[in-house]
Every structure is written in C-alpha cells, then in structure tokens.
Symmetry: C2
Subunit: 429 residues, 2 copies
C-alpha cells in the first residue's frame, strides 16, 4: 500500500471535475437507506440473497430510479441488469460500471449495493452536469455475486465473461432444491421496463466501487483505495483418517488419533505460511469437523479446509504446492488426503486503469492509496474481457458479511466522486 501524491491540478480536465461536483452525498446516502429495507434484518443488517423476492424488489426500485433518469434497461439471459446512458456515439463499446445487489444472509448495507448506487450516482451527476459522454455508459448489477444461496457465486459476471456456460449456470440449485432457471421469471417480472438482451455487448472498460472489507484504509485514514488487482486463491480440503478407540482404555501406542495428526499438520502449516513474514500472505483454516465427536472416543476422522491467498502467482504456486507434503510428513499413523477444490489465479488491473483512478482522486484532491483486494469480486471475470479497475472505500473495523458492516457517508460520496471523474474520462476515450 503506497500513498499517492495528488498530481498538480494544473493538468486537470475541468469536465470530469464538474461532473464529480454534482455527486449528491445526501441522495446517495438516502438510497442506501432505501435499499437496506429490501431484506432488512431486525439487527439492522440485510438478508437479500440472490434471486430472492427481496432482491427482485430491490431491482424494481433500481428500475424506478433509472427510468426517472431516462436510462433504458436491459436484462440478459442470466438476468444481469444494465441501464444505459446513451453516448454521442451509440455504435461505440460502452463503459460499464456497477457491482451486485445481493447480500450474504447475515450481510450488511454496503457490500455490493454500494457499487451499484455509486454507479447510479455517477450517471445522475453526469446528467446534472449537462454532459453527454462520447461513449455510452452502462450501469450494471451482476446477479448472484455472493453465492450464499445458489453456490458458487459470481454467476452473473462469470456467464457474461464466458467463464461459465449459461445452461449449466441455470441448473445450479439452492438448498431448497430450486434451480436458478426457476427464479428467472420472477427476476424478469421485477423490471417490466427492461428490454431482453440476448447478445452480449462487448464493454470498452469496467469500473467497480466496493467497500474494502479490510482494515487498511481505515487505519491509514484515507477515503479512497485504488485497487491494484485481486489476489489469487487456492482452496484445499484435508481429510485425516485414524481409528476410533475408547479414551479410557487405549494406550498411546495403540492410538491412531486423527485429531493429533490434524493438529500437527495445522501447526506446521501455520509455521510455514506465517513464518515467511510476508505481509501479503493469507492462510486460514476456517472449517474443522471432528468425528465421531464424543468426548470419550479417540477421533477417527478430521476434515479441515485451507484458504490460501496471495497476489503473487509464484508464491501462490510454491506455498500452495507445499501443503500436501507438509500434511503427509505430519500424518503419523493416520492416513491423509489433500484435495485442491479451487484455484483462482491472481488478477492485476492494468496500470492505465489504476492510473486513471489515481489521477481522478488527485484532480479532486481526495487522498488515496493503492492496495490489492483480498476478497474476490465480479471485476475478476471482467478483467479477462476488458480493461478493468476497482476502487475501495473504508468500512468500519474492516468488517463485512456482517450486520455490523458500516461506511461513513463522506467516504461513500468521495468514492462516487472519483468514480464519476474516471467514468467521464473513460467515456470520452
């Protein structure tokens, strides 16, 4: 994370600055409050899972605001939602801006929806400034980013980018056994004014604003983060198998204790990963199951997950590949099986895009710094399709996926201003 000096204002283009000046902090904050009613939880959080009726109602609300602004809606076969601000050259590839509407079941008021409302606010501001951009700009709401009901997540952006087949995505089921295909109808009915769009519009560029979901901006007291990329992630399942035995009668030499084995493995893995002293390292054993789970029975089986992330492809490869040998070394008299369940390569956003965001912040005299994204975002799939970048705003204590999630109104507005500036800039290209 590096503090960016604001470039001298001499070189600043007045048009995007005028647009950014039209961002209305109160309107943008009020819209967050209105959206928080769809799926409101008694604890102040939000439960607005993908393809739920609550999400459908939020989409209807979004259509109300965008149609008041005169934007035409479009909905694609997986029900990603686009609202188009027409450009002077409708034939040119549009700039996309947005994020997602769905939340975790115990989610907050900002994760996802901030990127959609900030994008909408940018279009409001551009209109209010009397600007008609050269290229069209489309506000987008990707479906099922969270994957909490229909797993895995990032369905909308994956299908849009061709990373997942539409037909297979439509067959994903939630815990109730419903398919995504069965939920398409209610989603379409929620935005009656939107046109169906079967052919993908190739984007010129993509911008996404999001809360940081980490502590760095808050710690540095900086309102905007320029995201350098999304770190890579490797997920593993580890299963240790020993033998159940009576805790009172079985001596050490007769034990094949799966928990003892797992404890040694986790202890060695933590020493290996954290011992590297690398500030970008992320190593987490988050889920552990021990069976049969009786206090007086030596454990027969332990299952645990590993979530390993790093922005550097080489580190991701070397450290990830060390997991299985370490588990093997520590297995003692147990058996162990390590399965890699997910491998997501790191994404680096092009400098031309991050520079544009940094210049926007500088032109607006909004302090910013650069940082990688620890969490995954729809921008990952878009990055394979077009020049992409993200900006972060701080969130309290770095907390997200939690009803406690919180962002300050002044930061919410600052992010939208930088976004507006960069959009006007891009749409002029």
């Amino acid at each position: 994370m590096t503090a960016e000096p604001a470039p001298s204002a001499v070189s600043a283009d007045p048009i995007p600055i005028q647009a950014a000046a039209q961002v209305d902090q109160d309107r943008l904050w009020r819209r967050h409050e209105i959206m928080a009613r769809f799926g409101a939880r008694p604890d102040g959080g939000v439960n607005r899972q993908a393809f739920s009726d609550d999400e459908a109602h939020a989409r209807t609300q979004l259509e109300r605001w965008t149609s008041a602004l005169g934007l035409q809606g479009h909905v694609d076969p997986i029900t990603n939602l686009f609202f188009r601000l027409e450009g002077r050259r409708p034939d040119l590839a549009p700039v996309l801006v947005g994020s997602h509407i769905d939340s975790q079941p115990a989610g907050g008021r900002f994760d996802g929806i901030y990127g959609v409302l900030a994008g909408l606010e940018a279009l409001e501001a551009i209109r209010a400034a009397g600007i008609t951009p050269r290229r069209p700009i489309e506000l987008v709401a990707w479906v099922n980013e969270e994957g909490s009901s229909f797993s895995p997540g990032m369905t909308g952006s994956a299908v849009f980018a061709g990373a997942e087949d539409l037909e297979s995505a439509l067959q994903h089921r939630n815990w109730a056994g419903e398919t995504i295909a069965e939920r398409i109808g209610p989603m379409l009915r929620a935005t009656p004014l939107a046109h169906r769009r079967s052919r993908r519009v190739d984007p010129f560029a993509y911008l996404e604003a999001h809360i940081e979901q980490g502590p760095q901006l808050e710690a540095a007291d900086v309102p905007v983060g320029i995201v350098t990329g999304i770190q890579g992630a490797r997920w593993f399942d580890v299963e240790v198998t020993g033998e159940a035995a009576h805790a009172g009668t079985t001596p050490l030499g007769k034990r094949r204790d799966a928990l003892s084995g797992a404890v040694r493995m986790i202890e060695r893995l933590e020493a290996h990963f954290w011992g590297a002293g690398d500030p970008d390292m992320r190593f987490t054993v988050g889920r552990v199951e021990v069976g049969p789970g009786a206090p007086n029975t030596v454990p027969e089986r332990v299952f645990f997950t590993i979530d390993f992330r790093h922005p550097d492809r080489k580190v991701l490869s070397a450290f990830g590949d060390a997991i299985e040998p370490i588990c093997w070394d520590q297995r003692g008299r147990c058996a162990v099986r390590v399965v890699e369940t997910q491998h997501s390569a790191p994404v680096t956003f092009p400098e031309a895009m991050t520079d544009r965001l940094a210049r926007a912040a500088g032109a607006l005299a909004i302090p910013s710094l650069t940082l990688p994204s620890g969490a995954n975002h729809d921008a990952k799939f878009l990055a394979g399709l077009c020049p992409t970048a993200m900006l972060f705003i701080p969130c309290r204590n770095g907390v997200s996926h939690n009803p406690e999630e919180w962002a300050e109104p002044v930061h919410v507005a600052a992010g939208a201003r930088v976004l507006t500036h960069a959009l006007v800039d891009l749409a002029a290209a």
Copy 2:
C-alpha cells in the same frame, strides 16, 4: 499388568471347583445369542438402550430363566433387578454379582450383558453342583449404566449406593423429553413375578464380570484379567474465543484466530501428557467445534473437550491441574476458559477381593493377569459400599461400544468359571 502364577492345587478347596466345573459353555453362549435379539441391529450389533422396550423384553427373558431356576426376583424403586439364590443363613448379608443389560445405541453383544449372564451361569452351576451357599447370593442387573439415552449413566448403581438421590434420578430426561419416572411402569410390568423392594439390602460383597474394552488380555493371550481398580477421570471443557475476520483481507497482525490458539494448546497438552512416558496415561481431545465454520472466515470460537484418566490420584491431580495454565500460556491474543466438568477419583479394589479372584483362577488352572480398568463400571459405586472386585475377559481388538464387539466362547466360559469359584468362596464366608 502382572502375570499371576497359579498357586499349587494342593491347598484348593474342592467345593468351589466342583461348582465351577458345572459352568456350561454352550448354554452360556446360547443365552448371549438370545439376548442379542433384544435390540438387534442389522449389522449384528445391539441397540438396547436403558429403559427402552428392548431392555424391558430382555428383562422378561431374564426373569424366565431365573424363575425356572427357582430364584425369587426383586425390583427396587429405580428398577434395579435382583434374583436371589437363598442361603442357609437368609439373615446374612448377600453376595451380589452382576452388571447391566443396557447397551450403547451402536453397541455390541457383550458389554454389560456378559456380567449378568455370567452371574446367572454361576448360580446355575452352583445349583447343578448341589451346593446351598451359607450366605444368599443375588444376581443383579443395574439400570442405565451406559447413559446413552438418559444421561449421565450408572444411574442404578449410583442410586443403590446413595451417590445419587432417587427423586433427582427419576427426573432425568432423554432427548425425547421423557423422564426416567415415566419409564418405571413399563420396566416393572416386564418382570411380573418380581417383588417390589423398597429397602436396600446391604451387600456383603460385590463381583462383576465384564469384557476388557481394551487390548491387554488379547495381546497377552490370557483369558481372565483380575481388575485392580478403576482409574480416575477428569473431564474439562475448553473454550477459546478470538474474533471472526475475512480470510482474504485480514493480515496476521490483525487476527485473533481461535483455531490457531486451540491448535497450540492441544499440541502442548499432548506433549505434556504423552511426554511423561507413563503407560497408564490416557489423554484425549474427542470433541472439537469450530465456529462460525466458514472456509473463508477466521475462526472466532473453538470448543474442545479433554478426557484425562489415570489410576494414580497424585498423577490425576498434578497433570489435571496443569491443563488450565498450559491453555493460558498458549492463548496468544485469544481468550480462554477452562471448566472442569467431571472429577472421578480412582478406585482401588481391596486386595482381599482381588486375591480371592486370583486364587480362584489359580485353583481352576486358568491363566490370569492383573490390570486396571480404563472404563468406568457400576463396581465403582459398589466399591464405596462393600468389598468389591471385577474380572475381565478379552474382547477382539479391544473394541467395545461397537457392533464389531466380540468375545470368544471359551473366554466367556473361563470368566464364568472363575466368577463361580469366587462366589462360592465368598458366600461361605
């Protein structure tokens, strides 16, 4: 564990040897097969939990056999069942012999029921040898030893010995919400010939036969184990509290990972307990829960149990008391709470009783060795009331509480012979 040399046969009393010779291996084995039908599982095991209809049916079967032998049944207020072989001196305190009828839900054909059927076989053999003992002998089946349905276990022997109050025991509930009090009626109806007995008969002595539930007799290829006592046990709950955080965004310095803390604690505890190199040491972490349990969330809370057993009171005290300081030392940035949930002092059976069993084995030329009991038994409560001893027979691979539980017919009979000898001996005192 010490091998016992058989004493020279010169000193042997012919009467108990004549009784032991009447033990009928086939009858005793057949009765195990019949009992295994009550609560039979498709996998060959037994699910005959305390106070169930299956246990009631097994009690009816036991009454059939004992009444054919002319033994009067008695049932006490908690429904412990007694069948009395009258002595020449009905006024003297009786010798008790028995165990329990109930099993674990995934239990076997020997745990508990062996001690009841071996006791019954001893009475059959004493009758067949034409012996009327000086003291009465009572076969006893204690209720709810396992505690798998109505927890905790050893209810019948605890109430009999005054370690638990009858009224409080009757209020224990199973998972369905039923109280023991509600199950008393069906139990009483199962043995219509038994008299109600409200006043406790003070026993002269107590003997219990059981499968070993450990590997020592099998390893030594010895058919009978003389149990020196029941080891002590201390149970602890440990709760480690950290803070949930995003696995992808939270750097090491910001983590309060409850699992990392728990792993360090378990690793250090294992090193401390097993590092002592004491063959009698038993240390088990059997149940572990990790929350919230998402692969991409740093664990906030870990709960684990400790089951520590040792036959020596001093070791039990020193090592048990070291648990909390070790957890405290290893807590890192987490909080930790250690609660002792159970403390059961070791029991040593009187030498006069273990010697009697050893002499019985010697007189019958049945090899035996001495060993402590790792598991708990009804004999623990009886030991507080009267001179008590136990004998073990081998079980395959040391396995119990499992449908795979198995004992060889020849061992089943050998144990019953030693038991018969010791009973005749005791009842003559």
